[in-house]
């Protein structure tokens, strides 16, 4: 056996000190008695005039010497030389999503998860290593692999819950990559399991322990909030909201809508169990401001009780139609509400002061720099048509894309179309067996929609889906109107044409300095907080709202198992299965022993 700090043996010098204490006589209280005969049995020692006494057998002395020897021995940090086995590699995934703020357990789910993780850290051996991943909307490596418990505890201590939805898949995939080809690898997931994205993941041989936190409770949450022009009253805007009840009890709550600090409306909403309720508020167009919807109930999760949305601007969308004449298209564009349409036979200015340009069968000499709806253009900046296709059959379309919302191609026939090889950033939306017919994409901040055929060569303009598509395209190509995003999503907006420094103020008051790209596009990804963000550039300001609006997060019932892929299921382990170091217990016993010794001494003399 060897010692790490043999110099600590110097503490053994305290042993004689203890013995000296026992050599010294205790001061005694003089007591007159009638006779010492009755005390003979209790006589300790004979009278001695010196301050020292003979060292006698004394259990207290022996106990104290043993304790001291053990303490000195521990201070020398003894160790046995031997072969050390390779330590474990532990990946700890801590869910920091909004639902972890729920207070159905004390102090909160995150607090409980942190406490459980702290226990796991405490139980690590010296040769174990741990990585700490935080899983919110994005996965963050909070602590790279280390054996240092102080570093891990410090990293854990700084963890705060975000307002973002849970995306555990990225974190688990990262953990899988980190633990690949490692022998003793463990993945510990501390979460409430409110993640919708695990179905696509195959567990394979990943050693995943799911430490479930939270129980579940009553929660009413706002799951959607949208401001739109009122469909029936032109001068008004309508605020649509959906409130979901995630619990199994019917819940009632007051819902208030504020515009700035002004109360717009107050409703009492009653939501049956596991159901939703819709609310519509009507507000007039006013100055720029923020609508704030507030649920006034004291449920387990507070973060989903508020949502914000910007008031619509009174400004109309400006569009330029470059066409040689297409009544169907022009009428469809003019029917889009709040859209001012200008029509021109050709594109004179490559950067017209409009929100988007519609090129209908026209190939301009200079491609417009803004957003474009290109219909049956012979050549574009990005691709050249390879040749015409006759009578292409529409076999598939992506109805999930915002452009194709409520758009149906069931009874649309196309006589002929252009075939083109699309660049990678273009996503085909409507496909024929040989080539895409409609595609859309975004490149360097510029959005483009391409229709390969002339609508006049098809039955499409006669179908109701055509004006809907045009309206969808008008909305999609005018993304400046998009001022609300979900927590964790990156916010991007074009602010001009040059690189501009931008200061962004977060809802908590802190600011971030960033700048746009060379083409004037601002991309801001630090949207982990719910609330209103303000971007200042030059003398202008731009506000955007970040909301949770996530039904899975509002559904705060903690899951007892995680469904992984088709077959895998991870059951929640209640306790952290970890080897615990026992030295603390022995230290406690040592303390108890000392206390007992103290009591024993006082019992003798009291």
């Amino acid at each position: 056996m060897n010692f790490l700090t043999p110099e600590s043996l110097a503490f053994a010098a305290t042993l004689p000190v203890v013995v000296i204490f026992y050599l010294l006589k205790r001061r005694r209280v003089a007591r007159l008695v009638s006779s010492t005969i009755l005390w003979q049995r209790f006589l300790n020692e004979t009278q001695a005039s010196s301050p020292f006494q003979k060292l006698r057998h004394n259990w207290l002395l022996i106990i104290q010497l043993i304790l001291l020897v053990l303490a000195v021995f521990a201070l020398t940090r003894p160790y046995f030389a031997g072969k050390l086995e390779g330590g474990r590699f532990i990946v700890a995934i801590l869910d920091v999503s909004a639902s972890m703020q729920a207070t159905d357990v004390s102090p909160s789910r995150l607090g409980q998860a942190k406490a459980a993780l702290a226990k796991l850290i405490d139980s690590m051996y010296d040769n174990d290593r741990m990585v700490l991943l935080l899983a919110g909307a994005v996965t963050e490596v909070r602590q790279s692999p280390t054996s240092s418990k102080p570093a891990l505890r410090s990293a854990l201590g700084q963890v705060r819950a975000t307002d973002s939805p849970t995306r555990l898949l990225d974190a688990i995939k990262l953990a899988q990559n980190l633990t690949r080809n490692r022998v003793k690898a463990e993945v510990h997931l501390f979460s409430d399991g409110a993640s919708p994205d695990l179905d696509d993941f195959e567990l394979q041989d990943l050693d995943l322990a799911y430490h479930r936190v939270g129980e579940g409770g009553d929660n009413l949450g706002i799951v959607s909030l949208e401001v739109r022009p009122h469909p029936e009253q032109p001068g008004q805007q309508a605020v649509f909201a959906t409130v979901a009840n995630a619990s199994t009890n019917p819940l009632v709550s007051d819902v208030s809508l504020f515009f700035g600090e002004r109360l717009v409306g107050n409703r009492r909403v009653s939501v049956s169990a596991t159901n939703t309720a819709s609310l519509v508020f009507v507000a007039s167009y006013g100055t720029n401001g923020v609508f704030r919807l507030l649920l006034k109930n004291n449920d387990a999760l507070a973060v989903d009780n508020t949502a914000t949305a910007l008031s619509l601007a009174r400004r109309d969308t400006q569009a330029l139609l470059v066409t040689k004449g297409n009544q169907f298209l022009e009428r469809a564009l003019r029917s889009v509400p709040k859209l001012n349409l200008a029509v021109a036979p050709n594109l004179a200015d490559p950067a017209p002061p409009v929100d988007f340009v519609v090129l209908d069968g026209v190939a301009p000499t200079t491609w417009p720099s803004g957003n474009v709806l290109a219909i049956h253009t012979q050549s574009t900046n990005w691709f050249r048509p390879s040749g015409p296709i006759d009578g292409p059959l529409i076999v598939d379309w992506k109805s999930s894309h915002p452009l194709l919302r409520y758009v149906n191609f069931d009874n649309v026939q196309v006589a002929k179309s252009l075939a083109a090889k699309l660049p990678a950033w273009f996503a085909p939306l409507v496909e024929s067996p040989s080539a895409p017919l409609v595609a859309a994409g975004e490149n360097d901040g510029q959005r483009a929609v391409w229709i390969g055929f002339n609508p006049l060569d098809s039955t499409w303009p006669l179908r109701v889906s055509f004006p809907i598509f045009v309206a969808n395209a008008a909305a999609w190509l005018n993304p400046a109107a998009r001022t609300g995003i979900l927590v964790g999503e990156p916010f991007h907006v074009r602010l001009g044409n040059t690189e501009t420094p931008v200061t962004i103020q977060l809802p908590d008051g802190s600011t971030r300095e960033t700048k746009t790209t060379a083409s004037g596009e601002l991309v801001f990804g630090e949207t982990g907080q719910q609330g209103v963000y303000t971007a200042s550039f030059g003398t202008n300001t731009l506000r955007f709202c970040v909301n949770l609006l996530d039904r899975d997060e509002s559904r705060i019932r903690s899951r007892e198992s995680l469904q992984m892929g088709e077959y895998g299921t991870v059951e929640a382990s209640v306790a952290v299965s970890a080897d615990k170091e026992a030295w603390r217990w022995f230290a406690m016993l040592c303390l108890v022993f000392v206390l007992f010794e103290w009591w024993f001494y006082h019992r003798r003399t009291a």
Binding site: V33, S34, I37, L38, R41, F42, N44, R603, R604
Partner: protein, 297 residues
């Protein structure tokens, strides 16, 4: 009447009679039956007349029937010497209610009962201080109920103090009082040299011995705990003791064994033994314990 004993108790004590198992061997006349023959109303025996005998004691009725001269003998009634050995050492002054005060009360009660029974009472305090020699003389050979007041006064003037050798004190007392009678020893019997020799020497004189051991409550249940330096009140010897509540039982056992040993010693030699707490009601000792113990009736 006196500070030592209340008038009520005195009234009750007057009704008691000191018991003696043996006949008195005293030479002085009294009211106790004795082995000697003399003048009294109690017939004892006949014997033949020898010239020189008192003609008044010839039983003429017998002469008339048998025609022989017989002398009628009567029992002589003698007094009973009652000696009270009162421990007046320093250790007896110990206690909240000093043992010596209690001892004096018992001595006064015993003396009063004896005086009422026309017995001769002697109080032998030991050790005897120089200033108390005259007082001790006053307490010797006290007779008659009339002397009781003076007896109480003298008793009240006694003081405890000094060191005593218990055995030697009793041995000396036994030699001093040759005629055997009733001896009452009032002491705590806490002498390092023991008590056996002294009691034995009294017993050898033929005395009927009553040992009353008086202990204070502090001795029976000590209240001082901790690291102590106990000082012997007589010898001044210091002893170091570590005493706690948990050792109280052991101490009680020690005291009980000590008393038990004394009691067995007394019983083996025909002595009577009583244990008294110095704070007890004296009536309980005198009228109950000592009565049932055969001291008086």
């Amino acid at each position: 009447m006196t500070a030592l004993i209340s008038p009520e108790l005195l009234n009750r004590l007057e009704q008691l009679q000191l018991l003696a198992r043996r006949r008195s061997k005293s030479t002085a006349k009294g009211e106790r039956r004795s082995g000697a023959q003399g003048q009294s109303v109690e017939f004892a025996d006949y014997r033949n007349y020898v010239p020189g005998d008192d003609l008044r004691r010839i039983d003429w009725n017998i002469y008339g029937r048998l025609d022989r001269l017989f002398l009628k003998l009567y029992e002589e009634e003698r007094e009973l010497p009652v000696t009270i050995f009162l421990d007046a050492s320093e250790s007896m002054s110990f206690g909240q209610m000093p043992k010596f005060d209690f001892g004096r009360q018992v001595a006064a009660a015993v003396g009063y009962v004896a005086l009422c029974g026309f017995d001769r009472v002697t109080v032998e305090p030991f050790p005897l201080g120089d200033d108390q020699a005259a007082l001790a003389g006053e307490l010797r050979w006290v007779r008659g109920r009339r002397s009781s007041f003076r007896f109480f006064e003298n008793l009240a003037r006694l003081k405890a103090g000094g060191v005593v050798d218990f055995n030697q004190a009793l041995r000396r007392g036994a030699m001093k009082h040759r005629s055997p009678g009733v001896s009452i020893v009032l002491s705590d019997f806490l002498d390092p040299a023991g008590y056996e020799e002294g009691l034995k020497s009294l017993a050898h004189r033929g005395s009927e011995i009553h040992a009353v051991q008086i202990l204070s409550p502090e001795e029976l249940e000590p209240t001082a705990y901790g690291d102590l330096k106990v000082i012997d009140s007589e010898s001044g010897a210091e002893q170091e003791v570590t005493f706690g509540k948990y050792r109280l039982k052991a101490y009680r056992d020690t005291v009980q064994n000590y008393c038990q040993r004394l009691q067995e010693f007394c019983r083996a030699r025909g002595m009577r033994y009583e244990l008294a707490r110095s704070d007890m009601v004296i009536d309980d000792l005198l009228l109950k314990a000592m009565r049932t113990g055969g001291m008086w009736r």
